[in-house]
Amino acid sequence: MTENKATAAAPESLLASADMPSQREINAEMAEIHAAADAREAAGEHVPATLYDFAPYRSSILRHPTKNPRLVDPETIELWSPAYGQRDVALIESDLTLQHTGEPLGERITVTGRVLDGWGRPVRNQLVEIWQANAAGRYIHQRDQHPAPLDPNFTGAGRTVTNDNGEYFFTTIKPGPYPWKNHVNAWRPAHIHFSLFGSAFTQRIITQMYFPGDPLFALDPIYQTIRNQKDRDRLISDYDHDLTVPEFSMGYRWDIVVDGPDATWFEQEGDH
């Protein structure tokens, strides 16, 4: 029987990994795990796009389930999502550059895209929440101890509700790369965290959007928890010159496809 410890460790103390390996060691571990996943898939096993058991991301070691999740038919409440609407957010909450008295520092960008289901249908009236580091790669969070400057004019959190075409629009600042203590000289590629709801609760997703051409992709154990190149590529936004506003902002486009519901669910009644 596992003894539950009385109190948690201070969250700050958990951010650094215990062994602090080199980038070279991390790269070798990642290559080995990707190859093993490919072999399992080739042998006919269903392997998820994002690997839960991924030791190069050190803090996952004690936090991933060791058993495969059970395949169930979604039922009743799981087939629905919470209902969001314009009353849940104000329009201004989608502009992260207007939250303080002055203009934030950095490269102003607009990020837009569509939220779709697996059949290409728009996910309408659903909540999209984002959060990110500032242009210097610093999060406003009190536990972030990266000695890059905070920007008094930038918080880095915004939200919106998708329109009838499933579209979302944000104005923000391009985030900087962010150092963390997973291993020696570990840097996260610049990213914006996205949290979304689909039309069914099974489609709930939290993920990260990246920027094209980042040299840190191959080195990042969080990005590489996604085992296939094509799935990793889908997290990279496209630079879109038509979205770039003259003398104002650079434009990026990123569509999100929520998972399922998959018709195969309903063909397996009584099968498991």
């Binding site: 060791t66 039922e75 919470p82 609760f201 997703i205 939290i206 969080i222 997290l235």
Partner: protein
């Protein structure tokens, strides 16, 4: 609600196989609080109103240590089995039951909601749909939190019946003396919660 859960399931089945590849999920990371927090996010119902209960527990890692940086979300029906289509989960008006709540674990790993007991839908054992995110967890985890009270409905549940007694226990909450619900979530270890995929 013009569509029932059964016709909705049928309509989804009739749609055939999806044609687009889904976007892969990623970890919530360490610094989600300032992005996802909002007032009264864990108050699915206004505290202490008639029928309100506290649903709470601790999220544990594989060492049995509480996880202080995780996020639990619940989505459930109202006490009469109605699935809410009410808006306002993100901006509470203190009386609309929207069915959705979000809680961050405390430094002791504890999450807590004010909510109501969901009633059965279509005669099935009632449960909260739950999803867990955490720093160090590469993607979301879905699970269910069943109510412990109606043993006949629990016994008739095909999913619960497919599990071993130990596994089944990880999905059924415990009724507390004050009428609330206690439910721990173990991401790993001997008491590992049963997680589900669809």
């Amino acid at each position: 609600m013009s569509e029932t859960s059964q016709t909705r399931a049928r309509r989804i089945a009739d749609a055939g196989a999806p044609t687009l590849e889904a976007t892969a999920g990623q970890t919530i990371g360490p610094f989600y609080a300032f992005g996802l927090q909002y007032p009264k996010m864990h108050e699915v119902v206004f505290p202490h109103t008639p029928g309100s209960i506290v649903l709470g527990g601790t999220v544990f890692d594989g060492d049995g240590a509480p996880i202080p940086d995780s996020c639990v979300e619940i989505w459930g029906a109202d006490s009469d089995g109605t699935i809410s289509r009410g808006r306002g989960s993100r901006r509470r008006d203190d009386h609309t039951f929207t069915g959705f709540g979000r809680a961050f674990t405390t430094d002791e790993g504890r999450y807590e909601f004010w909510t109501r007991n969901p009633g059965p839908i279509d005669g099935k054992a009632p449960f909260f749909a739950a999803v867990v995110f955490a720093r160090g967890l590469p993607n979301k985890l879905h699970t269910r939190i069943y109510l412990p009270d109606d043993e006949d409905l629990l016994a008739a549940d095909p999913f619960l019946s497919s599990l071993s007694p130990e596994e089944r226990k990880t999905l059924i909450a415990t009724r507390t003396a004050d009428g609330g619900l206690h439910h721990d979530i173990h991401l790993q270890g001997e008491l590992e919660t049963v997680f589900i995929t669809f």
